[in-house]
Symmetry: C2
DNA sequence: TCAATTTAATAACATAGTTTATTATATGCA
DNA sequence: TGCATATAATAAACTATGTTATTAAATTGA
């Protein structure tokens, strides 16, 4: 029973990822790139290390993604006037146009997948998932603390 | 509301992946390798292409994972007596021992994360998630069909 | 003020994953 | 039988990611 919940959650996230990848790729980006574009759409001027933190990516990994997105003329780097080490990231016109196409994809997929679930049940599902998430967050933090004290 | 469900599911699967990766890596394997070992534990003798299908991995990707797992002396390839093209995969003694350590990790994480959720709620959660999954599966298949007919 | 430390970004190297093409074997059917 | 096609595995080339080390600039603090 309890492990079924694990399997089903695993299946769901895999299916979301798959469908998402396919639909995003049809538009010409990977899911990883989509995350960067979507974040920048709402928070223009973020620098690389802040963005890497946000998206839980390695700074180096993001650095190279930014290289590629810049080559594809979807984003651009501008020097931070306050900190000469840092770049501020902005979507180009092309990047904004692409991000407009991407935005509805996630919402739409969820709409399709939950079309036949009554509103009451959606609320229940959300509440139960939120409890689940909050417990996982505590576990994650506890693991991180354990590691810290083992080191120190 | 509906997009919150998406975000929460995303968070949950990310947190499960993270915690899982950390705990599995402490034992000396990646999550991808863990999936291979766990499957083989229950289905010894599976060949590479069947296993790749099962785990939804590319045949080539699995081939290299098998190379590494074999180098690490966790699994071994034996010729299929029925089909001289194919290898049958088996855990070594070392692989079995490691798989024994991995087995409880998933179950345990879920136990911790759902400890404070009453049985009734767990059942409800599972039922709602199953509906969600089944809808996503239909969408995934519909997308695949659309692609097929666009090609043909 | 200036040496020590931290931070932002990235080059260089190592590892893992994907795509395409090849080899050996198996299967279907004229 | 023997030719066309399919299948199992993998080599080779390419792409993406993770790790370590370096550079330049910012911050801290005696």
């Amino acid at each position: 029973m309890i492990d079924n919940i694990g399997f089903v959650i695993g299946d769901i996230s895999r299916l979301i990822r798959r469908t998402f990848d396919k639909r995003a790729r049809a538009i010409g980006v990977t899911r990883a790139q989509w995350r960067v574009l979507t974040w920048l759409r709402r928070h223009e001027g973020t620098n690389q290390s802040a963005l890497a933190d946000r998206l839980e990516l390695d700074a180096m990994t993001l650095c190279r993604m930014v290289d590629r997105l810049q080559d594809a003329q979807l984003i651009e780097r501008r020097r931070d006037p306050e900190d000469r080490r840092a770049w501020q990231l902005f979507l180009t016109t092309k990047g904004v146009a692409l991000s407009d196409q991407l935005e509805p994809i996630g919402e739409q997929l969820l709409q399709e997948a939950l079309a036949d679930m009554p509103g009451k049940d959606r609320e229940r599902l959300l509440a139960l998932l939120e409890l689940f998430r909050s417990n996982l967050q505590s576990i994650d933090e506890a693991d991180a603390d354990r590691k810290r004290s083992a080191h120190g």
